[in-house]
């Protein structure tokens, strides 16, 4: 059936089965390709989006359960002042290697800094441990979060 979703501030209509994970509705039906498929079981974080500002794994959210919640993806992060700062830090420190996980990393980091503007290392670990980087760019991810939060990087 057709669902109307609020994605990146726009009302978008998707005609999908209600059990279709939001990740696949975004990618295959709405053409929003920033959220990535990595595991399908909420173990890697590559599909992370914000649902009413909270970082969630979109592979685990049935489209029928989204309702009126505001979905934000990496494509709209430049319009978010914190997200923009995070992206800038990611670029300055050239964090990525393959880059496949980085949209999810940036979504988790933006949610962290929105709630906790100056996170400690322990808070960074807690917020970011659900996001795997197979290239293991963790050193730079940590440094970029510190930079975006105006803290010393090492």
């Amino acid at each position: 059936m057709a669902y109307t979703l609020n994605v990146n501030g726009k009302a978008l209509s998707a005609d999908v089965d209600g059990d279709t994970p939001l990740l696949w509705t975004l990618r295959d039906t709405l053409g929003i390709l920033g959220p990535k498929y990595g595991c399908g079981v909420a173990a890697c974080g590559a599909c992370t989006v914000h649902v009413d500002g909270q970082p969630m794994r979109s592979c685990q959210i049935p489209t029928e359960s989204v309702g009126k919640a505001k979905i934000t993806t990496i494509e709209a992060m430049s319009a978010n002042p914190v997200g923009k700062r995070v992206q800038a830090a990611w670029m300055e420190l050239d964090v990525a290697q393959c880059g496949y996980c980085q949209a999810g990393q940036i979504m988790s980091a933006t949610a962290l800094l929105t709630k906790t503007p100056k996170p400690t290392d322990a808070q960074i670990n807690e917020a970011m441990d659900g996001n795997i980087c197979r290239c293991a760019t963790y050193t730079r991810i940590r440094a970029a979060i510190k930079r975006a939060s105006g803290q010393k990087e090492a």
Partner: protein
């Protein structure tokens, strides 16, 4: 790229560029007003627009190793153009124009360091020639600043953009005739340069194989047997076809060479059942409704436990073959002051690229077009041609950015599957494997078993070493990435040394994983050398330096070993890490050292660990000293590769293991095949030791020594020797 291409006459080059489908304009005499859009090709790599923007082609596939940035930097440096005026374009797979295009063996730097700088230098020389013609002066009176040719005597200057069209009539000079820049004048090489696609990555732009969209595209899943190579005995696809959105579901017979010889992968098409649908989710739902009976297959009798039992029996006897026998090991062991015996094991590993294998294919009018995140496009093209019975020249392969390579995408099994399914379907198709497909249909880092004996004399010299390596293979040839060179270190450094090898047949596909061979052999040899150092009551780092001796090079090519370079990095890492002060570490903490030469790079690493009473391991820091020659081309990318490789190695040692039961892989996902997460990642401090050797690659060689540095540190912290991976923290309980 071969020099032949550059020397070929210009018309030929332009024709072949055109045939390869690159978007080029050949308007040599453009109409007035059209000039802003005209890019003039100077060769297959360089196009110059009137506004001075230079498009540089990146020839090799990009999977996170940074070559899409690094290789164009080499061209841009010698062309003498500002990096901000460079636009990088990914090449198609086109061996006629670009030679071998692949990502493997950390070879991009050594293969291209000289050639691609000369590509840039040739283009610069042509621009100078064009200016000299215009000014009626000898080219030797002209020089360049970024983007401009100058004539100092007259003060004249022309932009590259204004000269490019005139280059059409100029014969490219012999690349060998040109003098390259003095490194002291480099403006691009050696400068930390962010990845070319960094802005697209952080804003989530579609870049990867999984993001490819074609008009009218459908989505596919492909169910293969858990037992490698098993055929479909019967399949009921009606359940799949009943799922909304599913268009087709069909059996693919596969080809006889798909697993031939046993344990190989990527030679043909594996059997299975394809489901094609309007969305990937529908295809996957349909796939879960398939009812398939798989034919019996001999590999179903194989298991990790069975391999371990066979290996134990084989290890107890003589090796099937002796690959090296220097001096008299048995006599030297009998007379050694101290001897050590130990058995080591390492498991199968999966590549676990975060982007699961995928490929988009379109078959139309007898021609095939492919978009693949592959490390090895040309063999993929040949595989598709062979399997589909079409001509290689009727296949176009687009190299799409891959979400990690690590060796997995050297095989093109996903490519031929997508090609076959697209032809059967008649529309463009994107095939995407599930994570579970990916983990269960890899070509794995082979497991291995080593039984060592070693001896040191009263003066603390390593005088005898014997390894019996039990691996997979047919008795004569080891399976892919399962062998060991007769020159494996410390061969040539120990007077009495014997390497024996025995092989077990296996149907489990094996293949290269980042630093193939080395990623396992470094662990066993560098651990055992550490054991011998402790047996000799020696400082492990001093023991390593003593073993390497005082000759700069030992042995002859291709087995020559730069002992002096290795001593250099060992000394450097000792200083960086404060090795001499390690005795002051608190109880439960320790430092371990290891070194390893692979992929032409010399690496020494020290790990500092703390082991808690419950056995929990905390890696506090890793120091790396690296010698990859005289020039770090892109320090940003270089440091990232080294740090990532070290953490990758630690991740393997701490967590990773693939096991086989009844001929199939038991692990499914990141829940039972763990990768390192940020909370476990230590700081990694890196020093590049600059030596006067040609620059070599960094995708791999930092990984191998990270593992024994960690396990040797655990020994220093606990007195417990890790001889089997992944590390079992249970055995580290106080």
């Amino acid at each position: 790229m071969t020099y032949h291409d550059l020397k070929a006459n210009r018309r030929e080059i332009l024709t072949s560029v055109s045939a390869a489908g690159l978007t080029l304009s050949f308007a040599i005499a453009p109409k007035a007003g059209a000039q802003e859009n005209v890019q003039t090709p100077l060769n297959a790599y360089v196009r110059v627009a009137p506004n001075g923007i230079v498009t540089v082609v990146a020839k090799n596939p990009e999977l996170g190793q940074g070559v899409k940035t690094m290789l164009p930097m080499l061209i841009a440096e010698e062309l003498d153009v500002a990096w901000e005026n460079v636009r990088v374009e990914q090449a198609l797979s086109d061996p006629k124009l670009y030679g071998r295009q692949f990502a493997g063996g950390s070879m991009a730097t050594p293969l291209h360091w000289d050639e691609l700088r000369r590509v840039g230098a040739v283009a610069r020389a042509m621009l100078i020639q064009a200016a000299a013609l215009a000014w009626n002066c000898p080219p030797s009176e002209c020089s360049t600043t970024p983007g401009n040719v100058l004539h100092k005597a007259s003060g004249k200057s022309r932009t590259y953009g204004s000269l490019a069209l005139a280059c059409a009539t100029i014969t490219p000079p012999d690349p060998r005739s040109l003098t390259l820049k003095d490194p002291k004048t480099y403006r691009i090489i050696g400068k930390p340069t962010p990845q070319y696609d960094v802005a697209k990555i952080v804003t989530g732009q579609p870049l990867f194989g999984i993001d490819v969209v074609r008009p009218g595209m459908l989505f596919a899943t492909y169910q293969k047997a858990g037992v490698f190579g098993a055929k479909v005995a019967s399949a009921d696809v009606s359940g799949a076809l009943a799922v909304k959105g599913v268009r087709k579901a069909f059996v693919v017979e596969g080809t006889a060479d798909a697993m031939s010889p046993p344990g190989s992968l990527g030679q043909g098409l594996l059997p299975g059942v394809a489901v094609v649908a309007d969305t990937w989710w529908a295809a996957n739902k349909g796939r879960n409704k398939l009812n398939i009976t798989w034919a019996d297959h001999p590999t179903s009798s194989q298991s990790s436990k069975g391999f371990a039992a066979q290996a134990k029996a084989l290890s107890a006897g003589k090796g099937q073959r002796t690959t090296r026998n220097d001096g008299d090991v048995d006599a030297a062991l009998a007379s050694a002051a101290k001897t050590v015996e130990a058995s080591y094991f390492y498991p199968y590993l999966s590549h676990a690229n975060l982007e699961p294998q995928n490929c988009t294919a379109e078959f139309k009018d007898g021609k095939l077009e492919i978009w693949a995140p592959t490390q090895n496009p040309e063999p993929g093209r040949q595989l598709c041609a062979r399997t589909l019975g079409i001509k290689p020249e009727d296949i176009t392969v687009h190299m799409v950015r891959g979400g990690g390579g690590f060796g997995r995408r050297l095989a093109n099994d996903y490519m031929v599957e997508a090609a076959w399914i697209a032809r059967e379907t008649g529309t463009p198709v994107k095939l995407l494997w599930t994570r579970e497909d990916d983990m269960q249909h890899d070509h794995y880092r082979p497991a291995g078993f080593h039984t060592f004996r070693g001896g040191v004399d009263a003066a603390g010299n390593l005088v005898a070493l014997h390894d019996h390596f039990v691996t997979f293979g047919n008795g004569t040839a080891a399976s892919n990435s399962a062998g060991m060179a007769a020159a494996e270190y410390p061969a040539q450094f120990v007077p009495n040394l014997r390497y024996e090898i025995s092989m077990m047949p296996s149907g489990i596909p094996t293949g290269p994983l980042r630093a193939p061979g080395s990623n396992a052999l470094a662990f066993v040899f560098q651990s055992f050398i550490d054991e011998l150092a402790h047996a000799a009551k020696a400082d492990p780092l001093a023991f390593q330096i003593k073993l390497l001796g005082d000759k700069p090079v030992v042995g002859t090519a291709p087995a020559s070993y730069g002992a002096g370079r290795m001593v250099g990095v060992l000394k450097a890492v000792g200083e960086m890490s404060g090795w001499a002060g390690r005795g002051k570490l608190p109880k439960g903490e320790g430092m371990g050292v290891a070194c390893y030469y692979s992929h032409m790079g010399y690496f020494a690493e020290v790990a500092h660990v703390a082991v808690a009473p419950d056995g929990a391991i905390k890696v506090k820091k890793v120091w790396v000293a690296a010698d990859v020659g005289r020039q770090i081309i892109n320090p940003h990318g270089a440091l990232n590769q080294v740090q990532g490789s070290v953490l990758d190695g630690l991740s393997e040692a701490l967590h990773q293991q693939i096991t086989i039961d009844a001929g199939r892989v038991e692990q499914n996902n990141f829940t039972d095949y763990q990768l390192m997460r940020i909370s476990e990642a230590p700081a990694v401090e890196v020093k590049f030791v600059i030596t006067d050797f040609p620059p070599t690659g960094l995708g791999e060689p930092a990984l191998p020594p990270a593992i024994p540095a960690l396990t040797n540190a655990i020994f220093a912290a606990t007195g417990k020797r890790i001889r089997s991976l992944p590390i079992q923290t249970d055995m580290l309980k106080a």
